[in-house]
Symmetry: C2
Subunit: 285 residues, 2 copies
């Protein structure tokens, strides 16, 4: 998805998409490097339905292969053959984003072992960990095409808002998605006590009684998975947490559409980005 967005953005701003190929691959290699290291930290056994690198080989191999992929990502980014001021902008944006992704991952780990996380903190975390790279992919294409600073910043904001909407939609899908269509077990976030928007919102809205029940489930070390999922889901439903998440998604989606409206390029060109945004939002429930 990310490399396609870089090329698309480059084309939309009347650039030659071929100029954006090395950078688009660099962004994808960078993303995969973070997956290798994240999977170690999350002790995730699978990645794309295959054994994760640290499971198939070992953690040392996953650390070092990740490092090497990061070097290769940097090499691809700086190999972008455009005039030097634009090239510097691409590299600066990439490194700034890379640091944000590291920061987001650190917050994610910190929040996992912390009792209270505010919704604001959660949104900042997913903005750093997920949205920043999506926004970077789009802005990179715009810079390579020679778009104005204003337009490049607007497409960055579009990416950031769509990324946030995407991640919140993911939180909903985990609980309310259709297993057969979504392709993985539902309720994984609930079982793992992941501090999603739904859980944090439930803590915010729930009655004292329901909050105590939630806390009990979070601290239980022995439980039946579907029992826990159903109990937590009932609390979510009682306090209309899903609807609140949908409102939040709608807010970010509208902001993203406004960003598109504000960009100065022909209406026809914006259509492909609108289609992309819509597709992200109608993944199967």
């Amino acid at each position: 998805m990310r490399p396609a967005l870089t090329l698309l953005s480059c084309e939309i701003f009347s650039g030659e998409y071929k100029n954006a190929i090395p950078a688009s691959i660099g962004i994808e290699v960078f993303h995969n490097f973070t997956l290798l290291h994240d999977d170690i930290m999350d002790n995730a056994p699978l990645r794309r339905a295959m054994p994760a690198v640290h499971k198939k080989w070992n953690a040392d191999v996953a650390i070092l292969a990740g490092d090497a992929m990061f070097v290769e990502a940097c090499r691809l980014i700086i190999s972008t053959d455009i005039e030097s001021a634009a090239s510097k902008k691409v590299t600066d944006l990439f490194l700034k984003t890379a640091m944000q992704v590291c920061e987001g991952q650190q917050w994610d780990m910190t929040y996992q072992s912390r009792d209270h996380v505010s919704i604001k903190e959660y949104l900042t975390m997913i903005e750093l960990k997920t949205s920043a790279l999506l926004a970077c992919a789009l802005k990179t294409g715009a810079i390579i095409a020679g778009a104005s600073t204003e337009n490049a910043d607007l497409i960055y904001e579009f990416g950031k808002n769509i990324g946030l909407a995407f991640q919140l939609h993911d939180d909903i899908l985990d609980v309310y998605g259709d297993k057969s269509k979504f392709g993985k077990e539902m309720g994984g976030d609930i079982v793992a006590n992941k501090k999603t928007f739904l859980l944090l919102k439930a803590f915010e809205l729930a009655s004292d009684h329901a909050r105590k029940e939630l806390t009990l489930w979070l601290h239980k070390t022995s439980f039946n998975d579907s029992g826990k999922i159903n109990a937590v889901k009932n609390i979510y439903d009682s306090f209309r947490v899903k609807e609140h998440a949908e409102e939040e998604i709608s807010l970010y989606y509208k902001k993203a559409m406004q960003n598109l409206d504000d960009i100065e390029f022909p209406e026809a060109e914006k259509e492909s980005l609108r289609v992309f945004a819509q597709k992200l939002m109608v993944r199967e429930m």
Copy 2:
């Protein structure tokens, strides 16, 4: 040591050392990033006589802090404010070196679990893992100073050869150094079955009988440390392994001095690099 070499090299080639400060720090931050990740892989408890990051906090923190340091190292390297062709050379050299260091670390890990490693393989491994960054530090200063390609390549070769001599000297110090002066327990490489130049040379030169004895010690899972150290050291002594290592060091040292002779700059300027090389070689035995 590395940042000082970058600044020194820049000055020797009549550059303004201040221009080399960001890159010199970048190289040092990169080096420290590799230490964080290496210490996880080697399960090393200490670093500079303090708890290693993965021990003081945990492996996740060490992975992520290392990643962030790598991003910061890249940022420092590309922030070198010189004309764009030289700046590209500095970045290209840095990323090429970063990949070599990763490759060297992978070989180091691979060799640890492999029975037979040739001396040639060992030398290639330490060239990648240790010498390349030293050579890179020197060449970076030369490029920033605007040295000719020939001179920049010669100072790179000087760094590579001195780096190899340095690492082989380290192998000797571990076995034959003076504990009170060297500041750590002697024979650690022997206890840990580290495939040093001494061990590989011993396998090459030893009689069938001595080779069998060495192999026995390598596979023993329960032993008295000083017993193992003395037994292996006796085999080293019988086959004059230390002298062979010293000859190899002398060879690289002479090559390095030849590299200096070939560089076209005033004799007086070379003196500081000669002094540096000598200091590296006369660390306490």
